[in-house]
Symmetry: C2
Subunit: 494 residues, 2 copies
Amino acid sequence: MPPMSKKLPTRQEDYSLWYNELVKRAGLAENSAVRGCMVIKPYGYAIWEKMQRQLDDMFKRTGHENAYFPLFVPKSLFEAEEKNAEGFAKECAVVTHYRLQTDPDRPGKLRVDPNAKLEEELVVRPTSEAIIWSTYKNWVQSYRDLPLLINQWANVVRWEMRTRLFLRTAEFLWQEGHTAHATAEEAVAETRQMLDVYAEFAEEHMALPVVKGVKTPNERFAGAEDTYCIEALMQDGKALQAGTSHFLGQNFAKAFDVQFANKDGVREHVWGTSWGVSTRLMGALVMAHSDDEGLVLPPKLAPIQVVIIPIYKTGELDALLERIKPIQMGLIARGISVKLDARDTERPGFKFAEWELKGVPVRLAIGARDLDAGMVEVVRRDTKQKMSLPLADIVASVDQLLTDIQTNIYERAKSFRAAHTTRVDSYDEFKRMLDEEPGFLLAHYDGTSETEERIKDETKATVRCLPLNEADEEGICMVTGKPSPRRAYFARAY
Amino acid sequence: MPPMSKKLPTRQEDYSLWYNELVKRAGLAENSAVRGCMVIKPYGYAIWEKMQRQLDDMFKRTGHENAYFPLFVPKSLFEAEEKNAEGFAKECAVVTHYRLQTDPDRPGKLRVDPNAKLEEELVVRPTSEAIIWSTYKNWVQSYRDLPLLINQWANVVRWEMRTRLFLRTAEFLWQEGHTAHATAEEAVAETRQMLDVYAEFAEEHMALPVVKGVKTPNERFAGAEDTYCIEALMQDGKALQAGTSHFLGQNFAKAFDVQFANKDGVREHVWGTSWGVSTRLMGALVMAHSDDEGLVLPPKLAPIQVVIIPIYKTGELDALLERIKPIQMGLIARGISVKLDARDTERPGFKFAEWELKGVPVRLAIGARDLDAGMVEVVRRDTKQKMSLPLADIVASVDQLLTDIQTNIYERAKSFRAAHTTRVDSYDEFKRMLDEEPGFLLAHYDGTSETEERIKDETKATVRCLPLNEADEEGICMVTGKPSPRRAYFARAY
């Protein structure tokens, strides 16, 4: 089934086509019959499951519980928090009817039953603040009910006009945390904590270095007081927002009248947060690490960490497999996920290419002659380095190699980012860099929406964030010459 | 937050009200602002997660992989398999527009944008055969691509008019397996295998004895050639269909033109199956085991298996907790999930009632005097039996007790079912039993749809299934006197 006939387009030739073809050929996802919606294929879903499992553990360790809220938001609830409604109204799918009937004009076909119109339209959730806060109203009475720390794994729909597999799809999978607190300080601390969780996940599991920052008002989540984000750099020098964590202030509490009695018995509105990452992370994972031969997966998220390919002459496969089995079992016993590709219908070269395309971190090619000599041929996917390693401690060596690959992929992405992060002090230099050496640009601007808009219109670059963990440095706006308290991260972005 | 003020209604008083109140008060689920849709609360979701994890492992062990397909089904695909379309058309939510706009007549309110009407309506999936088989067309070319063994965890929507928490909701969560095979025999074997998986899950994890059987044509899944099911008996003597596995024949393959080249190069349509269980299982779990004090959860699915409640005098809590810690750690080290309820604001009696309501299988009440005497007070939830057990081997004792409780709950449900399964040979007796001693009725009928309909109309009882693993016994239809090759299971059902 894997279409191995053609080579991938290279990143150099056409980065965008390379990405799209890679996602499809590696079996991660494909477009569906539904405009803008994708099918996540088994290999892609297996990676997403590993991401979910890890994130879910991290959420639970920080005290959160999972729950599930309805897919639909009645229009009257949807419009209750005005800014949020305004932000999502333009791209939401709306259910208006609850029945189909036989079409009297076209035998065998169906049409919407005009007598089954809903009294109130239902919005397919683009995000769940409205439905969740309408529920929290009944869950919160007193300070003893707080904090409320809840997460949901769900599908959401945003009617995007231009879609790309994983990066921007009409339906996507995500998790959305929604918490309620007694004080603003606690809510801000929660917002920051979850940003840290996302950054830790990105760096330690996806091997993806990220900048932690805060969005400008222009780029804020609709209905939030502050939006924090993690931003990553892709190999084409474009930025990708990989996760967001919002301090909602009392906006939703006021819109849905969620109040609690404090210790003195005085009623106050609660303070909220929400935070999410989505299947978009799959796009980031592919774009950050992969090469012209295919995926490069960090071992911690690879569904298959080691592939074993027997090298044999006709008639000798069975005997070889007997000798391979202890190696395979040894790796499995170490907690390593192993695929033995014993297909007798394909040649080793074909198999090498296929598992390279699929990004398996370590490949063992095992033949009888090597085994006789007490050696195994090992190739790591990230550097393509080929090694001959002693059979005697092959399990420990492979285990160590997986750790090294995880680190190397991260360090490589970090070096790439360092090499593509530039401080620029003039608008001309800014524009030249975007066209000639795209990446993160650290630049001064006057902090106004007007200047931000102008830069975006003229260069397609946006303020990705005001970084959290970097020293502030005063300067002068590269566009207007007005004072600037600190540099912002700019880039063109996905 | 848990409303402990009122006692639950008893099962005897009002079984239906008892169920509904229990689901809400134990924190499993509640109704939402959306007609017919529920909110699954954290404690309920934690049980569902345990079910998911176990089922997912079982699916993977039988060779299945997870994937994800779109939420929406374009109308033209939805109507392609005629019987399936006909079966679900009457209860499906339909998306007709993709944008809201400010309502010019009502400031601050939104309305559907009349200029954003979809060219083709989208049905919110009530089940995914249509969207999945339209995809399989591209995935299957040759016999080498078969079997295709895929499962999806998803939400689905069926516009039910009368809804009940977990048992019948407009939106519910489920898994749906969709497989494709080269031969009818293989597909039937898959259908039966997954029925066995469901039965094993129900019996060994939910402690729920089930009858495996096949549905009559009247009760078949729309678009299937055969529907297999597992049927369970609730404490009010009504049956509940707990899972179904469908042999689809070539119906969907033909509707979506899914063909493969066999080993001789001849093109044939593939053979399909689909199978699913849903959050309905949560309803079955509650109804089968719980009592008038609250939930009774089988240890294998209980989010909290053991609750520890300190018994102390004012000022002595901290010292006691120090002595409790080793017990708690010992249980955790054994893989048991433990909750230490150290709230200083509630009395032990209140805590006892709360954890009883929530169905925690084992309760340890630990006071300094018992510890001094080397004993611990242990209460099991299923029988309410109170024991004083030696502190020295408390961890092993509790572990064994959890196993015993799991077995006991299952055996108890099995005895209940045996006591409420009756062979009846006359229609009068059949009707009398339904009213006076409801349960499974094993009866002969002539196997026609007409008689089945008549029985349903006259008694509200349906053929639950023709059992798979019971000896056939010829007889005479209790209604028409015509010959019957075997007895069927009848019951009133959820």
